[in-house]
């Protein structure tokens, strides 16, 4: 008797399912910076009201987001690692990639600035100086867009940070926020996208030490997943979402998003 009750309750709980999922919904495989900075909380209500399409965001590192999309576990990909995105499209997983918006990366460090990189505008020089000083540097180490960018910067300096791995070079293998928490906890320099930094709540005595280098440019792209490769994709809704982001309305909405009076993302979709 009691077992029947258990069974029935369990079944009811499971079958109840999510609260009446809306008719149209898509999954966006996204980088974390756009989610953690609150951009989606700003954009999605506007889009959902206009179209009635519910957008479910899975925020993971760019590397994992691309992997998930390759497994057909998303309808739209929104990340920031252009070479990987192009490879994704060329392999037939995406219908096409479009520039969406940009911001930039910065290198943050403690007020004491042990490597003396404060105010530098050349990212490579700054990284080389950090390595030379043996000052702590916390890296994502997770194949994310930010990590890929960081690695490409190191490649140009001639320093192999892996040689200092575990010593001055600390790979957290975590998301941007977790890496910032860890880096700040150990007094290390961290390279982060500006949007995450501005909206990050645990800055303590950290400040931006290096910014303004063209190489720190951070381009975001949007890609609807290819329905020919992934038949489960809701391509109509996916296109609607991507098109809206790229439209004048969507671009204006992106540009209007501010945290603490600072604009986080700068729309740069090609003129249609």
């Amino acid at each position: 008797m009691i077992r029947d009750a258990f069974g029935a309750t369990a079944l009811a709980l499971i079958l109840a399912g999510p609260v009446a999922a809306q008719e149209q919904s898509i999954i966006v495989q996204s980088t974390t910076s756009t989610a953690n900075s609150g951009l989606y909380d700003h954009l999605l209500p506007i889009f959902e009201e206009e179209t009635g399409i519910q957008v479910n965001v899975v925020a993971v590192g760019t590397g994992q987001a691309i992997k998930n999309a390759e497994n057909c576990d998303g309808d739209v990909l929104l990340v920031h690692a252009k070479p990987s995105e192009q490879a994704f499209v060329e392999a037939g997983f995406g219908t096409g990639r479009t520039d969406l918006m940009y911001n930039d990366f910065v290198i943050v460090g403690p007020e004491a600035d042990p490597a003396g990189v404060g105010g530098m505008t050349d990212a490579q020089d700054a990284l080389a100086r950090i390595a030379e000083a043996g000052a702590l540097f916390a890296s994502r180490g997770d194949d994310s867009g930010t990590h890929k960018k960081e690695m490409s910067l190191w490649a140009d300096t001639g320093v192999a940070p892996a040689d200092g791995s575990g010593a001055w070079y600390r790979e957290t293998g975590s998301g941007m926020g977790a890496t910032l928490n860890a880096g700040i906890g150990m007094g290390a320099y961290v390279m982060t996208d500006r949007a995450t930094w501005i909206s990050f709540g645990n800055k303590q005595d950290y400040e931006i030490q290096v910014e303004g280098d063209e190489d720190l440019f951070n381009q975001y792209g949007v890609i609807p997943v290819n329905p020919e490769t992934c038949p489960s994709v809701n391509i109509e809704a996916a296109r609607t979402f991507a098109d809206w982001l790229l439209s004048d309305d969507g671009q204006a909405a992106i540009g209007a998003y501010e945290v603490d009076g600072q604009q986080l993302f700068f729309p740069n979709a090609p003129e249609s």
């Binding site: 258990f6 069974g7 369990a10 709980l13 999954i27 974390t32 953690n36 479910n56 057909c72 489960s232």
Partner: protein, 235 residues
């Protein structure tokens, strides 16, 4: 400990104002973890009982495996479930990835071994006491198992609590198969992970305090059942 005080007042404030988002997250946490616990009980109890009363070749091996599975890493469970439920996986056609059902499945896999291993121990001890009497009464195996389960019901409640505790506290599995999607699959632990990664540590801690209070509430509810049982001196 300034952060702790701030978190505590934030937690009280959220609860007091009846924050709708918070309520949604709390209810989903409870729904997912209670469902997983119930399913794990339905699977783990008969399994534990069967092993408890059976003697067969390789039984020790089964015990070692059962006990070892109690330590399954949530991330690994999450990954395995993800690979199955992914659109490109063998169960992708079900469309369950990034749904509460996928989270229930992952947590069930995580805690069913706990229920099986712990209930096996409880029932084996009780069976040592009852076995000869049951055989004298000519009970079948099924009848014996039913009687054991019923007579051990209050100890098995604790087993269920152990499973629930593990389920409601884990983040590694549900964040992979649920995706931490706002208003769809976000639960207490994934929300805490998110707020931590945003650097909003007091908010994360406040959520943690609320999770702790919920766990306390569930345990207190079960304990009161046990206490009433003790008053009736069944134990």
């Amino acid at each position: 400990m300034q952060g702790m005080g701030e978190a505590l007042s934030l937690a009280l404030q959220m609860v007091w104002s009846g924050d709708a988002d918070l309520l949604e997250i709390v209810l989903l946490s409870l729904r997912v973890s209670l469902s997983a616990t119930l399913v794990a009980l339905l699977i783990g109890l008969p399994l534990g009982a069967l092993v408890a009363i059976s003697r067969f070749r390789g039984r020790n091996l089964v015990l070692i495996v059962m006990n070892a599975l109690m330590g399954l890493p949530p991330v690994v469970v999450g990954l395995v479930v993800y690979l199955h439920f992914s659109r490109s996986g063998p169960l992708g056609f079900l469309g369950l990835l990034y749904t509460p059902t996928a989270m229930i499945v992952a947590q069930t896999i995580l805690i069913a071994p706990i229920v099986a291993a712990l209930s096996r121990q409880v029932l084996e001890d009780l069976h040592a006491e009852y076995a000869e009497q049951f055989r004298s009464l000519g009970l079948s195996k099924v009848q014996s198992v039913q009687a054991l389960l019923w007579d051990a019901r209050y100890s098995l409640l604790t087993v269920g609590l152990a499973g629930f505790g593990r389920a409601v506290a884990e983040v590694g599995a549900v964040i992979i198969v649920g995706g931490n999607i706002d208003h769809l699959t976000r639960v207490m632990t994934t929300a805490i992970a998110l707020e931590t990664s945003k650097g909003d540590l007091s908010f994360a801690l406040a959520l943690g305090i609320i999770l702790l209070v919920i766990a306390l509430g569930v345990n207190a509810a079960v304990q009161s059942v046990r206490m009433s049982a003790a008053r009736m001196s069944y134990v």
